[in-house]
Symmetry: D2
Subunit: 346 residues, 4 copies
Amino acid sequence: MRALYKHHAGQGLAFDPSRHIPEPGARDVLIRVKKAGICGTDRHIWQWDDWAAGRIPVGIVTGHEFVGIIERVGSAVTQYQPGLRVSAEGHICSHTDYNARTGNAHIARDTRIIGVDRDGCFADYIVIPEENVWPVHPDIPDKVAAVLDPLGNAVHTVMAAGVSAKTVLISGVGIIGLMAVTVAKAAGASRIFCTDINPPRLELAKKLGAVEAYDASKGDDWVQDVIKQTRGEGVDVVLEMSGSPIAMGQSFQALRNGGTVAMLGLPAKPVTFDFNEHIIFKGCTVLGINGRKIFETWYQMEDLLLSGRLELDDIITHEFPIEQFDKAFQTMMSGDGIKVVLNLEN
Amino acid sequence: MRALYKHHAGQGLAFDPSRHIPEPGARDVLIRVKKAGICGTDRHIWQWDDWAAGRIPVGIVTGHEFVGIIERVGSAVTQYQPGLRVSAEGHICSHTDYNARTGNAHIARDTRIIGVDRDGCFADYIVIPEENVWPVHPDIPDKVAAVLDPLGNAVHTVMAAGVSAKTVLISGVGIIGLMAVTVAKAAGASRIFCTDINPPRLELAKKLGAVEAYDASKGDDWVQDVIKQTRGEGVDVVLEMSGSPIAMGQSFQALRNGGTVAMLGLPAKPVTFDFNEHIIFKGCTVLGINGRKIFETWYQMEDLLLSGRLELDDIITHEFPIEQFDKAFQTMMSGDGIKVVLNLEN
Amino acid sequence: MRALYKHHAGQGLAFDPSRHIPEPGARDVLIRVKKAGICGTDRHIWQWDDWAAGRIPVGIVTGHEFVGIIERVGSAVTQYQPGLRVSAEGHICSHTDYNARTGNAHIARDTRIIGVDRDGCFADYIVIPEENVWPVHPDIPDKVAAVLDPLGNAVHTVMAAGVSAKTVLISGVGIIGLMAVTVAKAAGASRIFCTDINPPRLELAKKLGAVEAYDASKGDDWVQDVIKQTRGEGVDVVLEMSGSPIAMGQSFQALRNGGTVAMLGLPAKPVTFDFNEHIIFKGCTVLGINGRKIFETWYQMEDLLLSGRLELDDIITHEFPIEQFDKAFQTMMSGDGIKVVLNLEN
Amino acid sequence: MRALYKHHAGQGLAFDPSRHIPEPGARDVLIRVKKAGICGTDRHIWQWDDWAAGRIPVGIVTGHEFVGIIERVGSAVTQYQPGLRVSAEGHICSHTDYNARTGNAHIARDTRIIGVDRDGCFADYIVIPEENVWPVHPDIPDKVAAVLDPLGNAVHTVMAAGVSAKTVLISGVGIIGLMAVTVAKAAGASRIFCTDINPPRLELAKKLGAVEAYDASKGDDWVQDVIKQTRGEGVDVVLEMSGSPIAMGQSFQALRNGGTVAMLGLPAKPVTFDFNEHIIFKGCTVLGINGRKIFETWYQMEDLLLSGRLELDDIITHEFPIEQFDKAFQTMMSGDGIKVVLNLEN
């Protein structure tokens, strides 16, 4: 089969036109991949930064967002049959610890991620444990089904924070931040404010429903403007998706007392942070967001997609055949594209 | 001053062109009423049914939904000045019991309601305790500000249940049920189903955002249709606004296991109910809804109104000068009008 | 193997000294049973009442509470090895519906219960799907490990309602109600009130930590006494474990506005109930309780048992070898025993 | 009247035997103080550290924990009469902002604190707004009623985190940390672990119910011990009461994925903190704790005190007549006493 894999401990990925098709175990399914999305994580792997060098095994097939068709099922599989169109939760665990056994497998301690810790989906076939399979509703097109993983990050962040009838600040409108704008609007946020330092992304955020999109490179006056527009109190909810220490501090300033911050963005290193001012005196709630709830977030995504309210067309900007992976990665890494999808159906 | 009052223990209300203006106490404000909405409760008082005969003191000024201008404040009032445009929470209590002291004054035990237990707002002036006053945001027009009380019932029901990214069944689309449709949509409900036995109201419910509006007078096939459209599970949330025992039973059937029912509609008498099938085996949650949270619901309303997403124009259908109160009540009671407002500014 | 089974469509159970040992499937474990508890459900099956006649397949091995040792595992089992001491969650489902996939498998729609819908644990061996197995902490003795299923009902009810620093009324102190007394106390209930019509059980409830234990057969004066002892408001929480319509009505009267009722007891038929007075005007929350959360409740049980605060010695009153099943059932059904355990280790 | 006040911008307090008795406004009550507790905040004011120098107006009467008798009420007071034994919530606000109007006045933006921003309770009389008065239950002795303010900090922290049937780590067992031990146990914590660097306080923590009390000055091996004792996962809940950056980092390590941290302790300055490891990857929840909920926490305290489960005798160690204030402060500041109370009834 065709596969994109990490061929050496350095930049880039290599294309193998004839890798062995993996064999499903008794409780696994083998899925023929139709489309797969390129994630920011894949960029780290491509660029072979410190995180990638410390975590990614050389030789691995990368990619963790996809839609495909079940090709074959293991002998002990009971729920699925070949021919079903599916996506999958890429966080795989043994289901033996506290969180995995109480509906929070997304924070199981022994999680291994496809395309990061084991072979991923930038290939014609991938093996997935039965319990990680997600049947895709027929009304959801392949292009969207290919990116349910990052959309799930956005949905989990928005739903964990709770935005219904609330004012929301989204700090950072990269791919997931942009998804969060349309998700938060669909989920009932009353007014959405955004910050970033990338003007075209800010423009798109407004198109997707933000009432204000501030260029944070121009100083922090926006904080007072947000406070002014929210009864002089600050927003009810912050979705921190930038990972920038400066943006974090400003976002907490723009939060009202008793508000909620959901943190998804990963700072590059430890942050010097004023717990007194930002958390304790404010009496606020901070939520760490990791992955997606399995499968609560997936059901919420399905409901939101079926509502017809999510606008993803301007976010999923490009699609390339897998053979043009280099162009696909360059399009994504240059910022010309936002969400770029690889097509394996050719 | 002009006032509409309950002049005898029988049908109708009487108009008094020269009633004494009430005197505010030390902690009260005197408000000059601009507009006041007619509620279903006012209809009960007009018709003098058993409930009204048992509760309403003859002689009282009726009406409990309004917007006005503060005319004068008592000597110990600290927060407000004459000239402010305000509405008010009509549930007044002594703030001495558990709920009143813990943010749940809407279910205080000694609550007295304006227009029901003490003089109300169908008059040029009304006295309100300072802590019940709600300053109205300048962007909210008088017509809407006059009906924040019933809108608050809808908002409290929707927000208590939690509808964000959820499927919702609204059982009964009278005035508050219709408001609940637009509120639920704005608050992020993914898909809204409605039932009633009044075709024009069902039509309006669809216009306001319901994906299905079933005529329950034609049998209960709709229950299976709802279940079919919700993964074969049933809806996540029911908002019970009919008070009909038959509708209640059907709505619980249409609810998924583990779902939530918020009950606002008042059955006329005790209901024979299958707790095993509807609540215990389903593992569901039932919430009793009374009034509006003071003032959490009011803030939520303000946020929803400022979001621009609430569609109230088709719900607030008529406005009459107070002198035409008879026509106003007939318009409302005949069903020709939905929410009818009395104007006192002429 | 030895087994107790439902030999005919009538009263009683039969003992088979040489039934075939069941064969585990690829994802099952075979467990050698050490001890098994007799439940109220088993009494219904013994007595062959309407419910039993409508649900129980003749020929089935009964029993659903037990502790044992894994004897053998299926070919696709990954988590467990023979020799491990385990209990098991007896609610088995396909893990394909919304609740099962979101951490609420206890209310999955296709649940089948061991000893009710498929062979149970009143036998030397039982087959259980791997994902239903619960390894028992070494500090928990067999006698207690044999009754984790009903203890789990009590724990789920208590924890769903939330009793920490709250006043609690337990309506009905049968087996699970008595367990709920010691669980609620350990879980932080500030003061516990109980009602029943069985004086010895009421006495035991006080020994286990109730501050008041009212004999409801002597009228409803107790309602006013509870209200008087709770600031004139009523209790924060009711745990309804009687299934009696009269007790239900009284319990809701004894609940404060805004309180919570967790309902576990099953009324024999639909109940005529005043929703206005008991739920809507009170603004209260009613929770249907079914089974136990899988496995959140099991972890909570383990934590509570390891805290050393649960007092179960007076509740688990008798133990008989399985051959004396008739005596065991009579002891339980006469009320001489409370929780009666069958021993299969002889 | 007698009063202890901040007489200069430096160390110590001065005793004035004949200060003017303050005059209550229309909505205030005048309270004759019986007993008043000395808080860690009072120590800062005594020592005149940077915080005190920046906040405390010279001339102010200090003290914010007390019990007394209502002596006189203002003309517009409706709820209370002279002669009532009361304590009071010392956080006073205008009740005009979002939090104050939605049951969260403890985080109102314009809060002023008695004994910090306006005259406090180290005096024979204090003036308090009516809505801040808390009538004390007759079964609660003066000694305890004098320290409901700090006990409330402990109760708010414990109840916000939620400890019922959970393992809890209390990081720092100063006065409030020790109170938190007995509160957490009474509120249903299954097992309590503590850390501090003060051996006698650790000893007392064990006496009050901690299963382990680690001396953190001896290294961080305790972290692994806690994890080992909690299924290898870590505790469910951390109550951060030390304000120490090192303790914070270790406590988050000892927390399980998905756990909750309630932060009350104030770090002296911004902390360098690993948000990725401690919050985001863990998917945990962090709660800022400020003051006490008004009055939910007060009701919870009353319930806990009436349960008879709080052990405060070893925490409230000393009582001195107000004239011996110097000895009282030295006893508290030297660590010989824990909670020290001033008596004004002589």
